[in-house]
């Protein structure tokens, strides 16, 4: 495993909300073009860690971070970094589908537009179509691209948000419990989509659903009270965990 260069490497990361420490000394490396699942009970810091990767925690004033996160060779928390560039490389999908109250087309086109990724309208149309196709939504919405993105079903909205995230062609996609607001059928669709996206993207997914983690991920990290308890191949974590806490959580004894 050491011969593969990790996409993201975290070393000695501590995160504080005011005086409360949320994440304790985490070291991990995440491989390229794999799905990594973060699991753990509520409040264990998995979402906080996820939001460190694209610096979404900057929106919270009292959040303080020390340690290092590297995206390839780029230090994410260096002062010189351009956050806007970083976020084009690290896209994000949120817990609740949050399409902009604009048309489906504009939702997907917004990213490429503000980053100047397209020269003309036909190129933009191409990006929109490609993104929607990758998100498995094209067939369902191609006839109503100019209807509001908030008018489609919840599952479709979440796939629209995924299409929006991949439209800027990021390297990493962060997913913060993307299926927690969806019904089982929509969830299955999104899971299929995640599986197909891992060819081109590095995906990190936070989930409360153990089966989901087992289904979609290659690597699983288990967090508890802000600490990384166990991190390894998903098969191994679920079938023969090394730590007692992990097996307790997975078998439903707490959490």
């Amino acid at each position: 495993m050491s011969d593969i260069k990790p996409k993201i490497s975290v070393s000695n990361l501590n995160v504080f909300y005011g005086s409360k420490q949320a994440i304790f000394d985490i070291n991990m490396s995440i491989n390229s073009k794999e799905v990594t699942a973060f699991i753990g009970p509520s409040g264990c810091g998995k979402s906080t860690l996820l939001r460190c990767f694209n610096r979404m925690n900057d929106l919270i004033d009292i959040c303080k971070i020390n340690g290092s996160i590297k995206l390839d060779d780029l230090e994410v928390y260096s002062k010189k970094i351009d956050i806007v560039r970083l976020r084009t490389r690290v896209g994000m999908v949120f817990q609740k589908p949050n399409p902009f109250p604009k048309s489906i087309y504009d939702n997907v086109a917004y990213g490429p537009k503000i980053h100047g990724l397209c020269k003309d309208v036909s190129e933009l149309d191409g990006i929109v179509e490609k993104s929607l196709q990758s998100a498995g939504l094209w067939e369902e919405v191609k006839d109503r691209l100019h209807e509001p993105g908030t008018g489609i079903s919840g599952g479709q909205q979440q796939r629209l948000c995924i299409a929006r995230a991949i439209a800027t062609n990021p390297e990493v996609i962060l997913m913060d419990e993307p299926c927690s607001a969806l019904d089982p059928i929509a969830t299955a669709k999104v899971e299929e989509l995640i599986d197909s996206l891992k060819k081109n993207f590095t995906i990190i997914i936070v989930t409360h659903n153990m089966q989901q983690a087992a289904r979609v991920s290659q690597k699983t990290a288990f967090f508890h009270l802000g600490a990384l308890i166990e991190f390894g191949n998903t098969d191994k974590v679920f079938t023969s965990p090394e730590k007692e806490k992990t097996s307790d959580y997975i078998t439903g004894r707490f959490g």
């Binding site: 979404m56 976020r87 994000m92 609740k96 902009f100 917004y110 990213g111 948000c161 929006r164």
Partner: protein
């Protein structure tokens, strides 16, 4: 469950609903009484009484050499022509009643039945119809407010002759004119086309409307951008520290400051320090802008705050800068709230008199203002001025002007509601 206990709960609910209904009905009753009394009093103000006066446009007096020179005609002795034709009516009356003598007092009293500007109506008619010089024409001129009020039944004639503004002789003259079909009741165009006047029949509201328009224009041009920008900055960009906290608290305090204090501030700063023209809509508008700023800032901040954070996160998540996320996503969603707040703030400014008192805008101004630096007055100030006039005719003018003001206010509020529904988007 205990049945008695359950019944008690139902009764409590019923009592509460009853109290609520009583409160709502009380409000509606008061509103109806208020609007009803204003309408009843004001509607008659939109009508006025004219008298058909048969006028001999004497060639000798107007244009003895038949030059048809407009300037010379303009300067002729129109008062003499007006008086002659008015006294002719009096003579006709006396003839019908077999009275020979016309006393000076009678003449004076009879003149009081006609508008003091009768002669100008005759002059303007003649200038428009130069062919009619030397002929006898029938011109409709406004009656005095006295006749108007008498015919509208607003003067109590049951009291002693000395205690009322109109005497018995005048009443018999008016009745004579009515019998001879010389009286015409018509829509009061003057009310909408003229500025203020000392004569009730001549007084109009155009000056005040234009003044109000200029004041609101200045106020909106200054307050809207400043207020909205402040709100956006404070809500989205300002660091959350002690200084911004103090600013926030003070903005909230400013919203509660009595409006006359803003007038004093305006007097000190705009008039005394910057030397802006007194009584001008420019100075008045700036004061009202200051007064509405806190309202606009507060309502805009509420509107911005109510945009769900998920929209911001979504924009930031795909790499929009703070500025882009605010201006592309947050502001469009906050627009209905911002506009509603602004319109309601402006409606409040439109109804404001106290701060303008200090700026010299509560004043008798006859000319309709042509620019924002001309002296002018505003609608509520005009209402206040008229309500202070002793003459009967101004009472209905006051109510009529109030109706106009209410129409403007209701229109603005309706616009606010309309904008809210039109641009409200769901997410």
């Amino acid at each position: 469950m205990n049945k008695e206990f359950l019944n008690k709960r139902y009764k409590k609910e019923k009592r509460f609903i009853l109290i609520g209904r009583v409160a709502v009905s009380l409000t509606i009753i008061f509103l109806v009484i208020l609007l009803g009394s204003i309408l009843l009093r004001g509607i008659s103000g939109f009508y006025t009484t004219n008298i058909f006066l048969t006028t001999n446009l004497s060639q000798e007096i107007i244009d003895p050499e038949n030059k048809k020179n407009v300037e010379e005609i303009y300067k002729s002795s129109w008062r003499k022509i007006a008086r002659n034709s008015i006294y002719d009516v009096l003579s006709a009356f006396n003839k019908s009643k077999n009275i020979d003598k016309i006393s000076r007092k009678d003449k004076r009293d009879f003149l009081k039945l006609f508008s003091r500007s009768s002669e100008f109506y005759i002059r303007d008619f003649t200038l428009e119809n130069l062919d009619s010089i030397g002929k006898e024409v029938k011109i409709s001129i406004p009656s005095s407010s006295l006749v108007d009020q008498f015919l509208k039944g607003k003067i109590n004639i049951a009291v002693n002759e000395d205690d009322r503004p109109i005497n018995d002789k005048q009443i018999s003259w008016i009745n004579f004119m009515v019998e001879n079909k010389m009286i015409e009741r018509k829509f009061n165009i003057n009310f909408f086309y003229k500025g203020d006047s000392r004569n009730a029949e001549e007084a109009g509201i155009l000056g005040a409307i234009v003044g109000s328009f200029f004041v609101i224009l200045v106020a909106i041009i200054v307050a809207f951008p400043v207020g909205v920008m402040s709100a956006i900055y404070l809500e989205e960009f300002a660091p959350k520290n002690k200084i911004t906290n103090i600013i926030e608290v003070n903005i909230n305090n400013l919203a509660a400051v009595p409006s006359i204090v803003f007038g004093l501030l305006g007097l000190a700063i705009f008039l005394n320090f910057f030397g802006l023209p007194r009584s001008s809509p420019l100075a008045g508008g700036l004061v009202l802008a200051l007064m509405t700023l806190p309202t606009i800032i507060i309502s805009s901040r509420v509107a911005i705050k109510s945009v769900p954070p998920s929209i911001r996160e979504a924009a930031m998540g795909i790499g929009a800068s703070k500025m882009q996320s605010v201006f592309h996503h947050v502001i469009p969603l906050a627009v209905p709230g911002i506009l509603t707040g602004t319109i309601i703030g402006m409606a409040r400014a439109l109804g404001e008199t106290a701060p303008l008192l200090m700026m010299g805008m509560v004043a008798f101004i006859v000319d309709v203002p042509q620019s924002i630096t001309d002296p002018s007055t505003v609608l509520p100030a005009q209402i206040f001025l008229w309500s202070d006039q002793p003459e009967r005719g101004f009472e209905e003018k006051t109510a009529a002007a109030t109706i106009i003001l209410l129409v403007f206010l209701l229109t603005m509020n309706a616009l606010a509601v309309f904008l809210r529904y039109k641009y409200e988007r769901k997410w």
